[in-house]
């Protein structure tokens, strides 16, 4: 479904991503974890075709993001960090724009927009401009945009960041509903939601994958068996090694 192969990216002297590889099968929700600045967003942006990697590749449903970018992007739903949206549009206008831009067949556009609005539970705010919506609703509009074309692969950069507990639960429920038919990557630094939401977790630090395990397996690597201390132990350890 999604195959990430040795992605590398440098910004000037900063080597942000140093050979990140992993695969995600259909039906799997992968938690993409790591400290701030570890290279999570950079990796996700490269998978989404927003940023060109220095080397490496990502295959989305078998299509290379390098040699066949548009075909790969057609099979991908992407929620950028902070869920940027066109504030002057209403949610249905925004989704219709995406449907046209993605060249969905004219006849199925209305259905796709209606389904995305229903799935993301944003029907009640359909008539409001996106700029006037609360953070929770905006995030859900962004999610509706990512799932509009029913892509087999979803890349969601911090979909629950900054939401209140109820909004988080709503987003988690939406992801759980979609999980069986898709390969999903979610980045987050709220570790408590990882066991509830993800089947597998990839931990990266300083641009490298340092663990790829189930959330429970990851938690077992610490003394007290919590994901949080495993996280700090593993990322600290890397820090010690490089010093």
């Amino acid at each position: 479904m999604l195959e990430v192969k040795a992605l590398e990216k440098s910004y000037g002297a900063k080597h942000a991503v140093r050979g990140v590889s992993f695969t995600v099968e259909k039906g799997t929700v992968l938690g993409f974890l790591g400290p701030n600045g570890a290279g999570k967003s950079t990796t996700m942006r490269m998978i989404a075709g927003v940023l060109e990697p220095d080397s490496g590749d990502a295959l989305i449903d078998g299509q290379s993001i390098i040699s066949d970018r548009r075909a790969a992007q057609a099979s991908l739903g992407y929620l950028p960090e902070g869920a940027p949206l066109y504030e002057d549009m209403t949610p249905p206008e925004f989704l219709r724009f995406l449907a046209e831009a993605r060249a969905l067949p004219r006849k199925s556009r209305r259905d796709a927009v209606d389904r995305a609005i229903a799935d993301a539970r944003i029907l009640s705010v359909s008539h409001q401009r996106i700029g006037d919506l609360s953070k929770g609703y905006r995030r859900r509009v962004g999610l509706a945009g990512a799932i509009l074309h029913d892509p087999p692969v979803l890349v969601l950069d911090e979909p629950t960041d900054g939401l209140d507990p109820n909004q988080k639960r709503a987003v988690r429920a939406l992801i759980a509903r979609m999980a069986p038919s898709k390969a999903i990557i979610i980045s987050t630094h709220t570790l408590t939601e990882v066991p509830a939401m993800c089947h597998r977790a990839v931990l990266i630090d300083r641009g490298r994958v340092i663990a790829d395990d189930t959330p429970a397996g990851l938690a077992r690597r610490s003394e007290d068996g919590s994901l949080e201390s495993a996280f700090s132990r593993l990322t600290d350890q890397v820090e010690d090694e490089t010093l």
Partner: protein, 252 residues
């Protein structure tokens, strides 16, 4: 070949409609049109002495077009790419399976449409010279046509610079400076200076690249293919730069 072109241009109509909607969803387009028409009217009547020439034509109206475009059209174009960057939606746009040329032309055409609406709203002026006398209507239609082409050239500067700088204010200032250079190059004041410094030959070359010089023929009602080719070529050059500067973002 057609397949390649279709892929490059994918997203044109979606982008065009979105951008045009964005102009009219905010007061932006209305404010632009109102102030543009006010300024054009003021210059035509006050500075151009529309009624004092005693001739029923639109010469005192068209003569101001390059100067007003120089200020107003960069203001219209400055948001095209800088706004995407400020709100982070450029990331959304780049994740769509679209071609950069489609995005660039879609945005430019949306701004061009607003500028065309501005010109359209000056038609009562054309009607009134017909009421006052019998002007050469073919000549006026021609001047309108070339003015619209010239508007595209000014807008292409603003759009490209907006993609380059990623900031609305910086983009406006730089675009006005570039537009000023290409406008004022045909201004007698500038030309005489250039002539005394570098000689007549060089001054002729400078004048040939000026919007004012290229627009002169059309103002007299002469269709110069050279001028049409100049404005189209100028626009194409900046569209190309715009594509280059917009896709640079993928490199990080």
């Amino acid at each position: 070949m057609t397949g390649y072109l279709t892929r490059q241009m994918s997203g044109f109509s979606a982008t065009y409609r979105r951008e045009l909607g964005a102009y009219f969803a905010t007061p932006m387009a209305y404010v632009f049109l109102a102030v543009f028409l006010l300024a054009l009217g003021l210059f035509t009547w006050e500075a151009g002495r529309f009624f004092d020439t005693g001739v029923a034509d639109l010469q005192p109206f068209f003569v101001w077009h390059p100067w007003l475009y120089m200020i107003f059209l960069p203001a219209l174009a400055m948001r095209l790419w800088a706004d995407e960057k400020a709100s982070g939606t450029d990331e959304l746009l780049l994740s769509l399976p679209l071609g950069i040329p489609g995005l660039v032309l879609g945005k430019l055409m949306a701004a061009w449409t607003v500028a065309a609406a501005g010109l359209l709203l000056t038609l009562p002026m054309w009607a009134s010279v017909n009421f006052l006398g019998s002007p050469d209507n073919t000549a006026i239609a021609l001047a309108y046509f070339v003015s619209l082409l010239m508007a595209g050239a000014y807008l292409s500067i603003g759009a490209a610079v907006s993609a380059l700088t990623g900031s609305q204010v910086t983009s406006f200032v730089i675009s006005v400076v570039i537009a000023f250079v290409f406008t004022a190059a045909g201004w007698p004041l500038v030309l005489s200076t250039v002539q005394s410094l570098f000689g007549t030959g060089f001054a002729d070359i400078v004048a040939r690249f000026s919007f004012i010089t290229q627009f002169e023929g059309a103002q007299r009602g002469v269709l110069e293919l050279r001028a049409v080719a100049y404005f189209l070529g100028f626009t194409a050059t900046f569209v190309f730069l715009n594509c280059l500067w917009a896709s640079r973002q993928r490199l990080g």
